[in-house]
């Protein structure tokens, strides 16, 4: 299992600076994604990074700090993806399509990272969790904004905007749980499938996606 095994051919983590600290962080992502935070030992992380257990504590105060850094970077990236799409050009349908497509694509391509980011929230210390939860609320707001604008413009038919927003995000996030590189779908294919499904959920009138049926 090498560093570029799954979706990690991804040049993020470039912001993590001493090289050794980055190797430890990447090792931690792999380990947390495979076994979960609590089932991962600091010895395992250090071992994957080719270091002794003690080396970890030169760069991180605790195991939880590693998780927090991963979670923070991942949530920043996820939020950036959604806000970029939300602020983009085009109709609400086009922006929602772009948002879902890129958000889902990221969750599939970097499903190891995404799994840690999305499913290990409870393992964060309370003060760190608060910070992360705030980012998640911003993600929710970005999606809700697109949907609300689509409703306002008469493009969408959505009886329950907050509920639909919740469902859309939930659907996208859960990709990180089931997606596997062993499966036969590429991240782009999943993104396209999900974008279509979400547009149906909001009752989008066919805008630029002319599916001429039968």
């Amino acid at each position: 299992m090498d560093s570029a095994a799954d979706g990690s051919g991804y040049q993020a983590w470039s912001e993590v600076t001493p090289d050794a600290a980055r190797r430890l962080l990447v090792a931690a992502v792999e380990a947390f994604a495979e076994r979960g935070y609590h089932a991962t030992t600091t010895r395992d992380i250090a071992g994957r990074a080719g270091m002794s257990p003690a080396a970890l504590y030169i760069h991180y105060k605790t195991k939880e700090e590693l998780l927090h850094r991963i979670s923070r970077i991942g949530h920043d990236k996820a939020l950036e993806i959604l806000e970029t799409a939300a602020a983009g050009p085009g109709t609400a349908a086009e922006r929602l399509d772009a948002a879902v497509r890129s958000f889902v694509g990221w969750h599939a391509a970097h499903h190891t990272t995404a799994r840690v980011v999305q499913y290990e929230l409870d393992a964060l210390a309370p003060e760190h969790r608060g910070e992360i939860v705030a980012l998640r609320r911003e993600s929710d707001a970005a999606v809700r904004r697109i949907i609300a604008e689509g409703v306002g413009a008469g493009e969408f038919d959505v009886p329950d905007v907050p509920g639909t927003t919740l469902a859309v995000l939930s659907l996208c996030i859960d990709v990180a749980r089931w997606f596997s590189t062993a499966g036969h779908r590429t991240p782009d294919e999943v993104g396209a499938l999900y974008a279509d499904l979400v547009l149906r959920m909001v009752g989008a009138r066919p805008a630029a996606v002319p599916v001429v049926q039968k």
Copy 2:
């Protein structure tokens, strides 16, 4: 935190005897749901059940056996819900509506149990995981059957049946992650919302009004 605190006013677990074994199992569900399997100690489980740590081992060989029993019972219930709906009367749309409504309702009402059942699969021993995965495939098959029949009958418009099936199940399952009794939605409301969203995803034509199209 009492026994009937959340969705556990649910007379399931009635199949678990003797009484002490059931108390331990209910305690384990609560603990696993709150902190996750790996972060839960056998002392915590025994303590919640009002027993000494050793008492656990009279009724269960290992901590993993507890998880397996919970997972097995929960998956049996989930599968039963889906198959009942799939085999029911009515159009495909009516059956899909019923399936999603009851499946989501169960996940919301018993979100503690559902969280353990749906998100602690990796913690199962390999032979137990195999058994559970087989049950999950049956659940997938039940939903796919309804969707495929709807497509066959011209009721639904679904370009990618396996993909849509996956997305529908994923959407429903993820309810267990975010649902909280502190939220302002009842399980029935979430079920209704989700049933509507899923019918949109499959492009269901209004069932009662058999539109003869183009």
